[in-house]
């Protein structure tokens, strides 16, 4: 055994100095990074805080910077994130569990693993282009919340898979053996042990994945996310305002008032939604003819068209109150208005529209009843980063303030999600140790 020489002693001092240098360097780098972050956030807050308020959160986009808000963008972001979470998280967990617990380790799984790691680095615009081809054109899902959610879901899927695998790998093998030794199947082991014990890691990874997805702009613009949208997606429950279904329509020409409805009927052009847009406010004109020889009979009827809350039965009594019209409700729940001319058969009717010059034959239905629980998923949308992107490039400098305020909203959402991740991890980890 060597004895401790003076050289060794002075060596200690030198080694300590190197140690200190490293500590100082680390602290400096950390301070710089934090400083830049704080500066960015402060700058954003300074610019945007003034605009940030209830008005800003509850207004639709506008040409006037002072009136513009992020209502549709917040709702859009939340719904897209919901779809993203519902796709990326279960798929990512399933894929991660499969790779860790089920798949045999061979060249195929090795290739899959390498590719998952690579996918995490693919630029997001590429995902957008792929999603445009796959979801929009091939699967025909439209430029909807569903498409956006699936696109971002795919974008962050590798992150969830990697997080799941890391969390699953952290579970000691001896726990798996204990479960199998009790006679558990692979699924029982995964369900009762692997999944619950890795859940905190998976959730943390998933929320990190969602925080990445929430800021994405490029793939959403590619698939056709909107910028100006002044309405919200339909709610998942509640009754639709009544609307009319256009059964047929044709160009209306005053000279051709006698155009028989039968001709018109051949031109079926689909259905329309609430509430009676192409009619004069508060008033619809019914015009009908029973056969080509008779003159057009007209009736003017005032209805509170703007009121979506008018019940079907109220509507029926309002129409019945008109001496020339009768309303019935079919078994399918569709309201049919008929010309109740004395001594003649009730006929189809049509509505003339002076503004558009269209003749429209239709029946009124209470919106097919209630909203479908997932109608919203096919709705158009916008998201926060797109509003930011739009406003930041506008000439009017007041829009820059809106962009900063949107940035703050986005930052708050991200921080909230990370907060939830930390809290969940703390909650779930408390009971789990090996």
């Amino acid at each position: 055994m060597a004895t401790l020489t003076d050289a060794h002693i002075s060596g200690i001092a030198r080694r300590r100095r190197i140690d200190l240098c490293f500590a100082v360097a680390g602290a400096v780098v950390l301070t710089l990074a934090l400083g830049v972050l704080v500066a960015l956030v402060t700058n954003l807050a300074k610019d945007g805080a003034a605009r940030l308020g209830w008005d800003f959160l509850t207004s639709f986009p506008s040409r006037r910077a002072g009136d513009a808000g992020v209502k549709s963008a917040i709702v859009g972001t939340a719904l897209v994130m919901f779809v993203t979470a519902c796709t990326a998280i279960p798929l990512g967990i399933a894929a991660g569990l499969y790779l860790e617990e089920y798949a045999r380790k061979n060249w195929f799984t090795a290739i899959v693993e390498i590719n998952i790691a690579n996918l995490a680095g693919v630029p997001s615009i590429i995902w957008g282009l792929m999603a445009l081809g796959l979801f929009v054109y091939w699967m025909n899902l439209g430029r909807s919340i569903l498409t956006a959610g699936l696109t971002l879901g795919l974008l962050v899927l590798p992150i969830v898979i990697v997080a799941t695998r890391e969390a699953v790998r952290a579970i000691p093998q001896i726990i798996r053996e204990a479960s199998y030794a009790c006679g558990a199947t692979r699924l029982q082991t995964v369900w009762h042990h692997i999944l619950p014990y890795s859940l905190s890691g998976i959730i943390t990874g998933s929320i990190i994945a969602l925080s990445r997805a929430i800021g994405e702009t490029a793939p959403l613009i590619t698939i056709g996310a909107l910028t100006y949208i002044a309405f919200l997606p339909p709610p998942p429950f509640g009754e639709r305002p009544w609307h009319y279904d256009v059964e047929s329509r044709a160009t209306f020409d005053t000279a051709q008032r006698t155009q028989p409805l039968e001709d018109v009927s051949r031109d079926i052009s689909g259905s329309h939604d609430s509430p009676t847009p192409s009619l004069r406010d508060g008033e619809i004109t019914f015009a009908w003819r029973l056969d080509p020889g008779t003159p057009i009979t007209q009736s003017r009827l005032s209805l509170p068209l703007s009121s979506g809350s008018m019940s079907l039965s109220d509507l029926v009594s309002a129409i019945d109150a008109d001496e020339n019209l009768a309303a019935t409700i079919s078994r399918a729940g569709r309201l049919r208005i008929t010309a109740d001319a004395p001594g003649e058969d009730p006929g189809e009717f049509c509505i003339t529209n002076d503004t558009t010059g269209l003749i429209e034959a239709f029946s009124i239905a209470p919106g097919g009843g209630r909203y479908g629980a997932t109608d919203w998923i096919m709705s158009e949308f916008t998201v926060l980063p797109i509003q930011m992107f739009n406003w930041v490039s506008r000439p009017d400098s007041r829009f820059q303030v809106n962009a900063a305020a949107t940035g703050l909203v986005l930052l708050t959402l991200t921080l909230m999600m990370n907060g939830i991740a930390i809290w969940l991890r703390y909650r779930l980890r408390r009971s789990i140790s090996w």
Partner: protein, 297 residues
Amino acid sequence: MVTTPTPSENTGSNQMNAAADVSPLVASMALPQPLPSDFEPAQSPTIKAVAENLHFHYGKFHALKGVSLPIMQNQITALIGPSGCGKSTFLRCFNRMHDLYPNSTYQGAIRLLPDDINLVGPGIDPIAVRMRISMVFQKPNPFPKSIFENVAFSLRVRGGFSRSEISDEVERSLRSAALWDETKDRLHEPANKLSGGQQQRLCIARSLASHPEIILFDEPTSALDPKATRRIEELMTEIKSQVTVLVVTHNMQQASRVSDYTAFMYLGELIEYGPTAKVFQNPANQLTEEYISGRFG
């Protein structure tokens, strides 16, 4: 001493008189023909399982080379030998633990009596095996769940038990594992709040809950202090009236203290098997003697 098994439920070509089949093997295993004087006739053991020319490969590595060994019912059989001799490998053949890993191949047989099933046979579902033969591991490995759920798990995987049945079984198992008094007021607390020794007893309770026929102990006390070790050893002695015990141990004193039979393995082969007293006091094989006296291993 050799019982007549009841091959009643056995069907097919495997059906044979197990006793007749086993006896020549047992005779060749140098079983105690004249029983040692301290052996009580009432305990005259029957055979619970028997390994016949068992070979095991990890990939190309030949880990067990034709091991043949009887396991006596309601007795403790200790497997001893230096590290790498294959004793744990042998133990883990009994509940098909090797099936969890790729490239494991069994040859030969482990026949579970009295119904004469080849545990390592091709048509046998490892899950069915594990439902009859449970295991206690080297390091206490309770699930990070409550004490109650740890014990209930092997019943839950089977399914079909009512709430009260499960809770009865949990109580019975905890009592058998001498853990009931310490835990009856905290059944729903996390298991990993227990001490190491308690955790290992919990693992024993967990393995008892399913009424196994054999419990495999894989060096169950190597992670425990002497006091907890003693407790586990007592427990093994207590439970052998309910279940057949097979224990791998590094600890020579433990083997001599608790086991009724001892098998000494070396380099994947069985070197010597016999009643513990005989193996320790009068080993037939030179290697056994050297190992027991601490000259290698």
